[in-house]
Assembly symmetry: D2
Homo-oligomer: 361 residues x 4
């Protein structure tokens, strides 16, 4: 259990890295929306391995198929089943993982919890699991864009201590996709790429921070007290592999301000309500206030490094494990579409929940 | 909707700050556990107004009553209904709030979402709503302690830029309760108290960071992929009023390390498995690994300040609102039991979920 | 767990027959609807003991209080907490129940499941638990009536073999309330009342069938494949105490027809679509078709009889238990508002779910 | 939405009759259980078309593939994805259905609800949807058998007015599978088969009643007050296509008895507790009491008949529709494994829920 996300616009993902494939069932999508694989594949391409020299060189095309839920190019309102076949079957590349637990990977905890695990390529803990999320999220993004005019976007804000100052209101998808690290600040992007390449050469890895934004939300989305918009975003982000932190608006830095400095004055102009600052990050009391929603997600450095590390084997004996194989030295470039996807899932669900209770007439 | 938290060990809170009271229904508690108001009241006393000179001076005793779910001092396995009467009825103190929206409060968003709001004392957005959480969490804490030997604890780690270095494995409840700001570092506590008093005198407010810990967890709690332990903790914390961020283990700071630095080596000694560092924060792949779980929660400075601020009225006209009344200059001392309560809710739920799927025999 | 019903329009009930009271938290109610205790109490009065000579003579006024979720007479969109105090405390009347299990009551199964039970008056298994349902259902009925023009109604169709032929489209609330057994056929009502009185005099009890209807539904409510409208109605009804069966439309009797006889021809007239028969009971494929929804619920004879019966005691020794006390000889008259309440809960929830997915724009 | 069933042991089905296939994702299955396609296929073979002369002659092999959730022949505790390809693509056979609504089919209600429908072979309303249920249910049956010694079984009890007296405690799978109508009374089975063949020759259809049983349940499964075991069974059964009624134990017939006649005396012998009659159907107060659980499900006559019937077209104009194609004259023989599957889903879920709350230690 634990493989379903959302209340009304709801996805259930399935699949291990090695096995019949990975996929998702998306339930609750409104009917009548144009939808085909062409709406999904671009985000999967942004997520897939082998897309650039700073990500894992594994060859996986990750071609999605829509198995149900559409008819003559439009959604039916029934579950949308999407899947991607597993093609990179090389279990022998992982044979040492059968008997030794990789440090800071989930090998040991899965084994201890379930008493069994698919050790090939990480099994269920593989980032391949996020394929289903990205596919479902692409549907959510389209729904939000077409029915509500809401735009979802994310970018890399920092890699280790290399930090780009990004205005949540200003950067564009074109700027994000203009370089392989997905940082809209071209100068900082170059430095980030260099840092990642250096880490790879050292057989090491690096982490960083992704900035996520949602622009154009109406006032009123979010379900206090527990299903506040920021609470569901926090859960969504911390459910992604390798994440260690989430902050909305001013976040941890905002704790250094006083109330008078932090408060966002409310103004009105020609009937339009807005705030003159946005420390709140577009959400007040768990409900969107019409300003841009922005948040940050911390990703730890990838756990797989090309060094020997102390660990234990499946008999709980101390040993060493030498990292090998084809891995990402930095997960952030590929995580950008994952952050967008999870954002879309949260917002689409809340759009529908808001509609259910508050637009009923 | 959105007022229920948890899958199996599950609470539903209700109540506005002014009205018949506030309360909670806790469903799913195992039967046969000794329980009385004496187990609940101490945490409510740690949460209540008027407990010290650095919190709001409002007089509310917040005396809890258990209305159902126990018999002859033990839990029945049926819903535990608990409530606290509202006693501080002074709606006139809030009359200006009837027509003007407080900046960075939820007045405007509630009004826009629901088309109606109880403006007396914040209504549902009042921190009084957390009474129900703290009451249910006290049951969760007891369950975790008695059935699993798990200890839940939180403390104030920083107020603005005053930061105490706290070892998640070392501080005690006695140290936390030794001073009114609830920071186990006595020297830093004095400075924090002084800072809060200064803010109050200036009619301003301050924020800070709370450290939460759970010690003694067995290996195996957590339900990937979406209901990872840290994901549910993140949601729990971001559902608390005034929170802006959450990080588990190394958090945002950990993004500055390399993988080799960040990985936690696994060792075994006399059959006991442990890691020699704990950047993971006791959770790997969404599942507890037996190390101490620790995390940080950012709380913004309280929005109510004793100054005049630009805002709009209910007719969307620009105006000013002068803050007045009895308010907390800093929410952190009273938020410590809230963080503990939400932690307990998450862990008790996952204890039971783990049991359901993995201990079945 | 198991004490919450509904997805969006959702109630959680709590309370034992003896203890602090019984109540309900209703989450998800749309904001802005006029609501006061005067909307709730009439249905509780139809449910309460002592209302006529054919129900239990226990004196319970069951006066409801709304503790939250309304402001100045209108709903806030926040949880509506409602409760009724327990006033008839006479645990001594139940002392034999402390040590002996009543046959066909839940005493033994509760004791075996939970290892503990409140044996006073049945505890959680008491029909007092339905007070919360009836209170929440009254809100649902009002919502359905005011926002959708949907009318919910139920009546007694049979007591034992005394069967009244009732046209689901024709009977009125006034007819139902015209006699104490709540059967709109006055002649049959007299016979039913006589039968119930005879059972009481014999220290025995009788069961029967309640007919429930919902008129004026729009086409389109219901969420296949699992949350079909009739599936949720079936669950709702079988969750009521003493129920043994549910059938929609033609039900069990319909299995005697052929397809050609059973099918409901569809016709159109001036743009209005209708069927010329209604074996379907207003639901096709799990979705309302605009015709009257009608269904039947079987209630077993009350388990408490004034005779000595074989049973076991808490030490699992064979013994006899002599029934005594003030009990209903027939539960049906008081169950009519319960059936209406559960119907309203299902339909209001589905109205909102339909709106969420299908009216989104 | 509405395509997920269960709380902990939970399935989500997907797929239309024509499209990429049909399938299910089963989440929450305990890890370590041996599982392969060979455990699933037999129940799919009992469900599939073309298996005998009294079901539809369509040729569909319905070969299942397990795509995830197992490793080296054992369950991983992760989602089990199973699917069957759609092979009988003959949309032209359904061309008239594109413009006319079949009476007592869901064509009209789907079109009205969603504004779009896959009219080929019924789309989502096709009985092919139940393939996912039967596959997931086969896993549930195995789990219940191996871990709890619980046996699930169903059979045809009546076809129209041809009724077999079946003792819920006595019939065997071998007897059920001994004839093509799946009635363990061989004599009545012959008459049922003859009746079905006669209906087919007349271009008509017939309905009937299926008896479901679960033997060997421990005392204690079921979650009052809403998730009573019989309530979840009722929902499960009414969620199956073509069902019109459900009764547990004595059911509707039991309403003719008095309380004294209906009560099940409790006895104890050598520490074993039992009742000397079983009008309760193995469930008291929503909780299993250790006796055999038995219930009946009413299936209406199949809506597709080979006659011309009045209906409307998609422009809401009155018209006639001539039934044609390859259809079941009676759904009951193929519905037997569906009833078993849904029973297993309910019981496995409740086994795990009971374990979570009540066996926790």
């Amino acid at each position: 259990m634990g493989n379903t996300f959302g209340q009304i616009f709801r996805m259930t993902t399935w699949g291990e890295s090695h096995g019949g494939g990975v996929g998702v069932v998306l339930d609750g999508c409104p009917p009548g929306m144009e939808l085909s694989e062409a709406d999904i594949q671009p985000d999967l391409d942004r997520r897939r391995p082998g897309q650039s020299r700073i990500v894992t060189p594994r060859k996986e095309t990750d071609t999605v198929r829509i198995l149900s839920g559409t008819f003559e190019g439009r959604t039916l309102g029934t579950p949308i089943s999407m899947m991607v076949d597993n093609t990179d079957h090389r279990p022998e590349a992982y044979s040492e993982m059968a008997t030794k637990f990789r440090p800071s990977h989930a090998d040991y905890t899965y084994q201890a919890k379930y008493g069994i695990r698919n050790w090939q390529g990480g099994g269920r803990t593989s980032a391949r699991e996020t394929i289903g999320r990205v596919a479902a999220g692409a549907v959510g993004k389209k729904l939000l864009r077409e029915r509500f005019g809401v735009e979802i976007l994310a970018c890399v804000e920092s890699v280790q201590d290399i930090h780009a100052e990004i205005d949540p209101d200003e950067f564009s998808m074109a700027q994000v996709e203009a370089n392989i690290v997905r940082c809209p600040d071209a100068g900082m992007a170059d430095r980030m790429i260099e840092r990642i390449e250096r880490a790879r050469q050292a057989g090491d890895s690096v982490g960083g921070v992704i900035l996520g934004v949602a622009r154009g939300l109406p006032v009123g989305w979010g379900c206090p007290v527990f299903d506040r918009l920021e609470a569901d975003l926090a859960k969504a982000m911390l459910s992604l592999p390798a994440t260690k932190g989430f902050e909305i608006g001013s976040g941890f830095g905002g704790t250094h301000l006083t109330g008078l400095e932090h408060n966002d004055p409310i103004r009105s102009e020609d009937g339009r309500v807005f705030t003159t600052s946005n420390h709140s990050g577009g959400i007040v009391g768990g409900i969107s206030n019409g300003e841009t929603v922005y948040f940050r997600v911390a990703f730890k450095p990838v756990a797989t490094v090309m060094h020997s590390q102390p660990t234990i084997d499946i008999h709980l004996q101390n040993t060493e494990l030498q990292g090998r194989g084809r891995h990402d030295p930095c997960v952030l470039p590929r995580a950008v579409p994952m952050v967008e996807a999870m954002t879309a899932m949260v917002l689409a669900d809340h759009a529908m929940r808001h509609h259910a209770q508050n637009k009923l007439s």
